[in-house]
Point group: D3
Chain length 188, copies 6
Amino acid sequence: MKRIADLLFEARMLKEIPRSGFHFLGVGRESVAEHVYSTTFIAFVMMQLHPEIDGRTLLSLCLVHDLPEARIGDLNSVHKAYVTADEGRAVADLVQGLAFGGRIRELIAEYNAGISPEARLARDADQLALILELKDLDDIGHHPPQSWLPHVLGRLQTETGKALAAAIMSTRRDAWWWQAALSREKPA
Amino acid sequence: MKRIADLLFEARMLKEIPRSGFHFLGVGRESVAEHVYSTTFIAFVMMQLHPEIDGRTLLSLCLVHDLPEARIGDLNSVHKAYVTADEGRAVADLVQGLAFGGRIRELIAEYNAGISPEARLARDADQLALILELKDLDDIGHHPPQSWLPHVLGRLQTETGKALAAAIMSTRRDAWWWQAALSREKPA
Amino acid sequence: MKRIADLLFEARMLKEIPRSGFHFLGVGRESVAEHVYSTTFIAFVMMQLHPEIDGRTLLSLCLVHDLPEARIGDLNSVHKAYVTADEGRAVADLVQGLAFGGRIRELIAEYNAGISPEARLARDADQLALILELKDLDDIGHHPPQSWLPHVLGRLQTETGKALAAAIMSTRRDAWWWQAALSREKPA
Amino acid sequence: MKRIADLLFEARMLKEIPRSGFHFLGVGRESVAEHVYSTTFIAFVMMQLHPEIDGRTLLSLCLVHDLPEARIGDLNSVHKAYVTADEGRAVADLVQGLAFGGRIRELIAEYNAGISPEARLARDADQLALILELKDLDDIGHHPPQSWLPHVLGRLQTETGKALAAAIMSTRRDAWWWQAALSREKPA
Amino acid sequence: MKRIADLLFEARMLKEIPRSGFHFLGVGRESVAEHVYSTTFIAFVMMQLHPEIDGRTLLSLCLVHDLPEARIGDLNSVHKAYVTADEGRAVADLVQGLAFGGRIRELIAEYNAGISPEARLARDADQLALILELKDLDDIGHHPPQSWLPHVLGRLQTETGKALAAAIMSTRRDAWWWQAALSREKPA
Amino acid sequence: MKRIADLLFEARMLKEIPRSGFHFLGVGRESVAEHVYSTTFIAFVMMQLHPEIDGRTLLSLCLVHDLPEARIGDLNSVHKAYVTADEGRAVADLVQGLAFGGRIRELIAEYNAGISPEARLARDADQLALILELKDLDDIGHHPPQSWLPHVLGRLQTETGKALAAAIMSTRRDAWWWQAALSREKPA
């Protein structure tokens, strides 16, 4: 149990780490934990659209995909040109002494391989979580998302991912509450 | 797809909402999205300890359990003495027009009922996420967690939840990296 | 005196609570305490324009109008479609044991009724405080205020409120210091 | 009306300025606007205890007492040993062209003179707002308030101010909600 | 040594003080310490372009130029119309008892005089640090930098300062990494 | 000049990056830019104590020592067990096309080698900047600095570094202004 408590404090670290991509974007901010939440929630939606896939695995892939960042930090695409992370060693230290450590290692390996249907969806969910932020910041009037969006959209691999991205890109950030709030404010 | 994009922006709102309990605690802060991340991750751990439960459902329960807060706000135990939230109506508006809206409604209802083994674990995960924060702040030297912890610990319902809480309470927040960092700094 | 100290700590809580409307707006931020400051200051200005009204009451109405939010949280117009707050009970608990508790209860009731000339001005001051924020954010270049402003302007009830709003809307956020700073920088 | 809009934007500036004393304290933070809110609310309480004083004036004194900080910045007691502010000129520029500018000038002068009963109470409210913060931070476990409190307490001039300070110092920051929340959590 | 430790804590204070100009700008933020970093780094660049100047002095001028703000606060151009800072006394108290206090005093005097080639460059570096922020915020889409930039650019005194400003103004904030990241993302 | 503007925007990035060590400490925060400011200022003090060393080089070493973090991120001692940064390549890309790029490369190499007297002092300044933060947080009452300080103190290499650390450790964070403020408040 002691090692499980360690794991929980390690997973908690993701709340302290800001996503470094936003430092380059120049606007917006989220913690890695918030990003994992978004990614996992998007995967939950994908799971409803894909009854054939293993939902337990899909959600698990998303939940653990950034866990190594507790020991490695949040490396964005600029960093990755210069930095090599021994993620294997980070995962080994993370799971050492954990009864179910092997399962975490498998999930992270499956996510990184990106071959299984679940991993392909999880990886698109990861990109969609960023697309959602960029669209939100674009609606608010910030300029940088306009240059970023084509590149992030280009990373999507699955039809479902692309369809969700198209839906996000054509929806106002506040459409979900705006119309209803308006009708309440000015009843016919 | 349009309504799915709405759902994603609605779920994104949880990143903007701070957990109001910390305003009363006087120290610490987390967004509702960060709390959902912690809760879901704790449930992932519980899932490894309980091969008999439905992991897909357990993770889903945690992921959606605070979704109504996008429309309702984050009500803590002080607020709840004065505020009645029509969560049913919030969920109805949330899922209206969504093909899989019924599934979200079922999950929120199952979480609120708190009867199924998955719901009981999910509810304990929700409390454990707060216990983890309180222990972290207590280790740092802040006083309020000492008065809060007995009450939050008292809300736990499952044996697994209690065992995890005991493990958290007896583990230093930085034990997961401290010993290793020390040994690297001063090699024998 | 003990209960007065409680009241002061309760009123202090408004400094910890962010105005939730800004979570929906997507930009800007203020605490409820800052909002009460703005509202009360605007009322101070109204008081100068209306020698016939009871200034002591007007300022008091503004000062206490969001006091119940310490126990209830900051509910915006989206929240209010789903949440019913028993403000009466919150106020009862707030004033219980306070020698001048009855006066606070009367003021909150008068504000909520919105009938007296002072309450009508106070309610417009509350909206003007938001209009001031929206105009400020609009001048900076953020888009959401453009959709919000017509609706908030439409809530104003008094001629004075409307005249002040028109003045705010036609004034640059930095006009009060810009011209003077310019003339100092480049003396003729 | 144009000059009134300028005044509102100028008063709004106090929301952007952090109280510089907290930089020296090392913990805590509030905007000048939040401090004015606290000061004015404390004065509202004093007004209930002193039916003989002019409440309209007392509240007005508090509301405008830090208005010159929009042009001057927030000078704390360390700064004041080195900086001389021409508050008269700041107020002159602030009120220039305002129909009720003379009233604002009078109020600021009355506050600074500190002779009228209302000004004496307002000045104590200003100190009590800081005492409330220090007590709050002390309860949380931060050390610096212990050295500061004797000095700030020593600045109080009125019996009412001293009595309120004594009440604050003997009251836990969370007493106003703690007992009730406890009784709800564990009904007999 | 005791007085040197005092000096280090005093210099550390600049990390707590936000640059007040950004309160007037309405967007962006930096601490005085961050500003000193930028100023000194820009001077390091100037030093490479000017082998004839005394680099040690140039960097030292920049490092200490805002040191008096620890005792005085950060006064911007609006404040300076109303506030007179006895910087001499602040420096006297700062260096009192320091073996090398005379050197700090000389450097601050040289910076303020703005006559030596090093001081002229240092003063331009101070303005360039602000121009860099304004250009960054302008690229992001915020409006206020457009009105500020002509005035800040107009304060530059040296040819090197003007050339650097021209280069900053014609360079996108993200040009340094954008092209390379693009080429990595889409290899030919 | 275009490449110099790129360099300035790259150096500016350090203002956006929080020092990741504080995520592990659990309290406090500084940007890398603030850390570079502190390091360089401490080196300025060392320079006064060591007239024999090359001050221009010492200050330059400190100014550029974390420049590669713009491309690599802020790697703390936990990260470094898992991550290998190709700092050479980051520096190559940083200085490519810069007339004085060779000088920056030399300085970073000299800092990393840590052999020259200037590099040894610069490296101690880097640690002292952290010690200053830890002592500050310790004085405020936070617990983690007590476990960290022995290890950070143990990294110091020079007699000057050790003497400065001893002075910091025996000096209250507010001693530089406290006594004077007290004497002003209560004149004899």
